[in-house]
Amino acid sequence: MADLGAISLWIALALAAYSTIGSVAGKIRTSPALVESAQSAMYGAALALLVATFSLVIGFISRDFEIAYVAAHSDLAMPSQFTWVAFYAGNEGSLLFIAVTLAIMASLAVWRAPEKLRDALPYTTAVLMLTLTFFLAVTSVMANPFDKLPFTPADGEGINPLLTHFGMFFHPPALMAGLISITIPLAFATGSLLAGKSGDEWVDVGRVWGIISWVLLASGLLLGSWWAYTILGWGGFWFWDPVENAAFMPWLALTAFIHSIMVQKRRGMFRMWNIVLINVAFGLALYGMFMNRGGSVPSVHSFGASALGWIFLMFLAIGVIVPFAIFIWRYPLLKSARNLDSMLSREAAFLVNNLLFLAIAFVTLWGTVYPLISRLFNNEEITVSRPFYDQVNGPLMLALVFLMGVGPLIPWRKANLDSLRRSLLPPAIGGLATVAVLAALGLHKNYALIAFGLAAFVTSGILMEWYRGARSRHRSSGENYAAAFLHLIWANRPRYGGYIVHLSVVMVTLGIVGASFFSIQKDVVLNPGESVSISDYELVYLGSVETPKGNRTEFASTVQIFRGGDLLETIQTKRAFYPSFNMASTNAAIRSTPVEDLYIVPSENMPDGSVGFRILVNPLIWWMWVAGPVMVIGTVIALWPQTVPVPARAPSPGRVATRPTAA
């Protein structure tokens, strides 16, 4: 099926190029038939890319080692469930995945675009298809996954052992889809500008696709952290690795964007700012793809390194310069409908939140490119490590958590001090009480105290909002509190979905603070029968079993966990050595509870049966992994289509004088 895949890829490239040119030409020449034809070509490109994708999947399933990419990333011993992971294990497959994702999302976005964007849609299509054309050109010419070997080897080289993990089914595709899907809000924004729209038409669709990109990136980042935690064997979850940062930065810009776009939707403000934010997010996404594919900076993601760097760098330059040039050209159209009424308003809180997000993104960008800059100017590569990011980004992130608690409690336009005091007092008391209790319990790490206090502040504010809203419904409609609460969420999905997402951020904060400030680590070598104590646990190493498997030698070590003399659990950690890759992979044994994780990973198996263990107690990290599903649920609620009841006519003039129902 390699030939079919290759043909489909070229057909998709031709269709995408035609769609780009046809959309613009059709618009300029006022030819609806040409515009419609170009749009059809976009759907055709998506179809052709699906055919190419299936061809490659079939190549993996049938272990067609004549295809160089299949031979390089699979072997006969590879379990069939990892076919999907092998698909994007290298650059060629990743680029095909990015292209097919963009094509499908672009088709959905254009197909479902609202009527009011009709005038701008050809330009939107052109931006989307221009991006797709780039990816397809690179894939077809420089990294074709359907290239054949001159001979068919008996077996392949196998999949990278680090990728044989459950998290890999979702982490790379979520990040790749998240990065490339930023093209969609950018395309709608740029399309509107090119069509000379004043700036508000694209807001709804931009918000929806911005949130979709955001949740994909957030899920990808969390799953990547979980993967690193469970398989890399160092006990941490975030390394400030350049490629991690490359996905984190557009997520920051997108977080600013999805808040800021609400101000434009609600108040007609921040029109210019939102265009800048989506342009920045797109630029950072392209930078992320450049980092991932170009391999210009040393990274744990070295499997993505290639010689494609220069072409991605060129596309990055174009992707930054052109949208900003269009923005400057259309600048006069983007004047806000209103001015900021007061600094004590939700708009102002969102503005400050935006600036903080961008500051963190800039700090992270600086730390990420610093090795390149130092290499360029000093001929010496200086890598920026965790202390830099912790010291600079830590306080900024705490300020963001504070704003996350304040922002939703301030009304739009302006707040008066009385109402602000009424809104903020209960959560402030909750936060301060938490700090007081923790300090009384002997916790004296200032940063951690502040972080826990802020987490309590945000949580109290959200719970208070839920209670007040449910009480209001209960009083007005007579519903019981449970029904009132559920109806409240359902009737105000964007707002209350957002609150749930904020709660998930609080959970992530708890996990980060717990693991960063209170983690305990021990590195020990144990012989069978020996024990070690850590925190209030006692661990007894019973012994290891060595099992040769097809492509690896696996060592399984059994450890008993005691606390207070009671056996809690007997767990098994695994370490496998892959001779063909000269690489070892580990599977940490983790006893996870909401209070703390007991994390045991074998760092080395000695010939005499002794094992080097790294043992950690990571408090509160469980909350970080639970935050992922909560975040997705909140996002789904926020994005669930909401039909606002619009009265077709009033039965009597008196009805208009009555306020519309809040529910």
């Binding site: 618009k27 006022t30 040409l34 809203g469």
Partner: protein, 162 residues
């Protein structure tokens, strides 16, 4: 030639033919699915801003206004706003909604009785609240803050206000 290669070539050719038909269908059909002619102009009116004519009561512009009113109501019921601020903003949204409905009527859509009711109510309200902070736009009648230089709805210059 291997059977698999032949199948690939046949399927690939079929895909290519399908793509050509897909792309050419719009021209072959002799008419565009786009029902209205596309405008080259970046603006539809003298202000340089496109004017959006609503198409029905499921109109997103109207839904946005009612959504904003619901949010306003919620914030008011949660005690976050002064009654004066609430009334001012509520009034502005109501006038905006009525304006959208009137645009619907002008476009041959909507319910004339409902729009007439709104017009009467707005006129009555203007008499009862002469000091309200919003003022109607001279071009489209949308409620616009007195501090605004341009109408956020149609872009008209508010300096020309009566």
């Amino acid at each position: 030639m291997e059977a698999e290669t032949v199948i690939s070539l046949v399927l690939g050719t079929a895909l290519a033919i399908f793509s050509v038909v897909l792309v050419g269908y719009s021209f072959l059909r002799g008419q565009a699915a786009v029902t209205q002619p596309l405008s080259n102009d970046s603006s539809d009116d003298s202000t340089g801003h496109a004017r959006y004519i609503p198409t029905g009561n499921d109109d997103p512009a109207l839904a946005d206004i009612f959504d904003a009113i619901r949010t306003l109501e919620l914030e008011n019921s949660l005690g976050r706003m002064h009654e004066k601020d609430f009334q001012e903003q509520f009034q502005a949204y109501r006038i905006q909604a009525a304006t959208v409905l009137r645009n619907q009527l002008e476009a041959g859509l909507g319910d004339p009785t409902w729009v007439l009711e709104q017009e009467i109510l707005l006129a009555r309200d203007a008499q009862e609240n002469p000091n309200r902070i919003t003022t109607p736009c001279p071009n489209c009648s949308a409620a616009v803050s007195r501090s605004s230089d341009d109408c956020p709805h149609c872009g008209a210059d508010m300096e020309r206000r009566p």
